[in-house]
Subunit: 351 residues, 2 copies
Amino acid sequence: MARSLPTVYEVAQRAGVSTATVSRVLAGNDRVKPDSREKVLAAVSELGYVPSGAARDLAARRTGVLGLCFPDLAGDQDAESAEDTTFWYDEVIRGMERAARRRGYAVLIAASHASDDVELVTQVAGRCDGMVVLARTVSVPVLERIAQRIPLVMLAGPREGAEQGHDIDHLVVDNTAGAKALTGHVVGFHGRTAPAFLGGVDSADSDARFEGFRAAVAEAGLVPGDRPAAVGDFTTAGGARAVEGLLAAGGRPDALVCANDQMAIGAIGALRAAGLSVPEDVAVTGFDGIQLGRHTRPSLTTAVQPMKLLGESAVRLLEERAAEPGRPSQTVELQVWIELRGSCGCDGPGA
Amino acid sequence: MARSLPTVYEVAQRAGVSTATVSRVLAGNDRVKPDSREKVLAAVSELGYVPSGAARDLAARRTGVLGLCFPDLAGDQDAESAEDTTFWYDEVIRGMERAARRRGYAVLIAASHASDDVELVTQVAGRCDGMVVLARTVSVPVLERIAQRIPLVMLAGPREGAEQGHDIDHLVVDNTAGAKALTGHVVGFHGRTAPAFLGGVDSADSDARFEGFRAAVAEAGLVPGDRPAAVGDFTTAGGARAVEGLLAAGGRPDALVCANDQMAIGAIGALRAAGLSVPEDVAVTGFDGIQLGRHTRPSLTTAVQPMKLLGESAVRLLEERAAEPGRPSQTVELQVWIELRGSCGCDGPGA
DNA sequence: TTGTAGGCGTTATCAG
DNA sequence: CTGATAACGCCTACAA
């Protein structure tokens, strides 16, 4: 595709030095006579030289690129609902990009559409110095193979096999504590007596949050169910559908603790459509702390994930393992913090 | 960084074939005896082989990666305000990723922090088959150099030099028509008589939108100013500040046409804080059609950019130029559509 | 259908 | 400080 154009050789020739010197100048901090340096730089700019990343990577055995793979949740759905489905991933992408850039890396992203997962993820893996994979993107065996080649951290999701000594590192947040605090606030401070949990299908994170919910409910002297009152697919539309189903089935919660923000927002819409008001009739809480939640009306009470720290921790884990490939697999758990806003009945700034 | 591990040679040996055969199998659709294919596949999986992207790219002269560079608007600001600054970029990133994936590419992203722009952008350029650069990311001369090597399309922003025969393609939306329609609706349908334009600093897009504003105002028999009533930096916070300044200076518009959605949202907040109601006292419109605008209260009337189409068009332009490197530089202009919601006084779905 | 061998553009190791 | 030169891991004619 790319037109073949100037290579180090042309630059070297034009500058009257060897390719080695050109390489040194471009590498930056090597010892080369200022004079030669200038000549090289001049040649580079005159020729419009752009080094080949492929050749550089091959020779240097490092790419300066970190990979980020996430599930293509929207892939199977209609375009409409696909739109509002990825706020959480957006923030992860941004967070990673910033943290990576600060450490000198670019970020290669790819969503996997379930079917072609192995293909794409492997391709990405072959191009970077380390990669972050979000939960539910691709099967663990595939990840293990990749982790055998480059540092790999799994973000969120189950830590299955973590004890089996493979070399995937894990980065998670304290889901249980967050959900417990949220639930405790709603039943404790706001005195709700019929709280329900809106879970996400097939998700270790949702499960952990549900555990937090149950713990708080039990502590309040109430009896929690042993399963979420309803489940959705983590999207706004899914949250709305779940609530519709719950109401249709006769459910009448006075508080709804949701597995993530997007479903909470959908839930609020559905509750309203059913003639219920939030937070008066039903207090609602989310999880994640996506930006959108600050701007909705009512604004969303939620457990905020430390995005910046997540990105930085991921990069750090990657670098640490790169430096010491054989070290035991490690799990880092970050804290979340609760932000009380309008949807639970609190009136924080902008509620 | 990466541990050195199995190469084609090991795979070939283990499968009892030549590296050429391994390569063919991995490439997919070549003619190789089913028997050999199986043996190769087995060896691959037993060895946990992951091909080196660098070596592959170097030999194949193509990477299967498209680059996407955008300005790091948030870089210079405090962490707080940095958060709500990139909704538009998020959507572009998503749109590109989807369109690219559909065509078999992964996406390499990098934000440039103004200072180190050349470095980073060049590095990205060296690693992909083509790249998209958002307006205001890096200087045109640098872009021209890169465009000399790989297909490059500039998204939004000025088309300066487009007539000078360089080979950068441009992808834009009809800013003027969008702003004109929005303004026309506010002054025409809603009968506002004192509309003001909230512009963005140093932006060809904002300028074009302002032109649309002026045209509509003039057509309504009113007298438009020759400069925006206020300007911001395209962020929510910037929009709020701009409105505060406008009001402090005695401005009392009954309609505010904003250069983008984020500023419009900030503006609404500031208007409210000043005791004015939206849309009753002041009708507000945005531009871009970010998802957030659907969820705010009131929801935001805006000109929606066709994100999906933008991504697809960008990839198409890249591929076309790759196929025919010497073709003349091309500009594609996409239409926007107006969505009337609550902030202008209309009550669309969910207003 | 399969194997052989040369080359892709840089970096890095050595001598000078 | 600088210059040859051997990798780097894979692809792809070309030949068999």
